[in-house]
Amino acid sequence: MSDREIDSMVASDCRVRAHPSSVRLVRQFVREQIKSSSFSDEEADILLAVSEAANNAVLHSGTDEVHVTWRLQGTCAEVLIRDRGVFRHRIPMPIRDEQGGRGLPLMMAVMDEVDVSPGSPDQPGTTIRLRKCKNSNGS
């Protein structure tokens, strides 16, 4: 499932179809990367954030493929989750507490950096960048 496009020492890629059953494959991919690096202490946080980002892509982007990239930068790991859709800004309000909107707050709670490059109707394609550094207090 992982097609390594860039230098495999630097980054690894995985593409899955945008379907609920794929989020688990994304976690498997990221687990493999964590296993071959030294981010096991950060595994729980990274897996949660990656799942939330993949959930967003699967549920809201309206595209058929999600593209995940893992890369290491010094003592930090970055995961990019890309789709080809239009990003919907969602803010969790008490009145719609059951309807989600928890993804981004959760990502921000457990990662050191989260940013969203939102796809628009004119320029579809959303990228969520998740960054976690060793010995940080992100969670």
Binding site: P20, L25, R27, R31, K35, D45, L48, N55, G100, G103
Partner: protein, 113 residues
């Protein structure tokens, strides 16, 4: 935390076992977007009853916000929902989201941080 080797993507990532005599649903594996429906369906017949319902989480390795949403929705219909023995990432998530703010949710056997 690892997925057993040879596990096919099509295989269910979540195992749900119900014990009606103790009003307990046991979850093993991963509770995510693809598996919350089965959890909610297993829990539903136990909810309409004045006694507490227990969800045993000791064998659950992963939960995300879709699992959390399923828990919250179920809790609204339950008298009392007991979340038993959350471990690892699941415990961290429940702690992070402070689920006991819901009056009828109780977390038991949560590991120390």
């Amino acid at each position: 935390m690892s997925v057993p080797e040879g596990t096919q993507p099509e295989e269910a990532a979540l195992r749900v076992t119900t014990d009606p005599s103790t009003r307990t649903v046991v979850l093993e594996g991963e509770l995510d977007l693809a598996s919350t429906d089965r959890f909610v369906q297993a829990l539903r017949p136990l909810l309409d009853h004045p006694e507490p319902v227990t969800v045993d989480l000791a064998g659950l390795e992963f939960m995300d916000s879709s699992g959390l949403r399923a828990v919250i929705q179920s809790a609204r219909k339950a008298a009392t929902l007991v979340l038993l023995r959350p471990r690892g990432q699941v415990g961290q998530l429940l702690r992070l989201c402070d689920l006991e703010r819901l009056e009828n949710v109780r977390i038991e056997g949560l590991e120390d941080e």
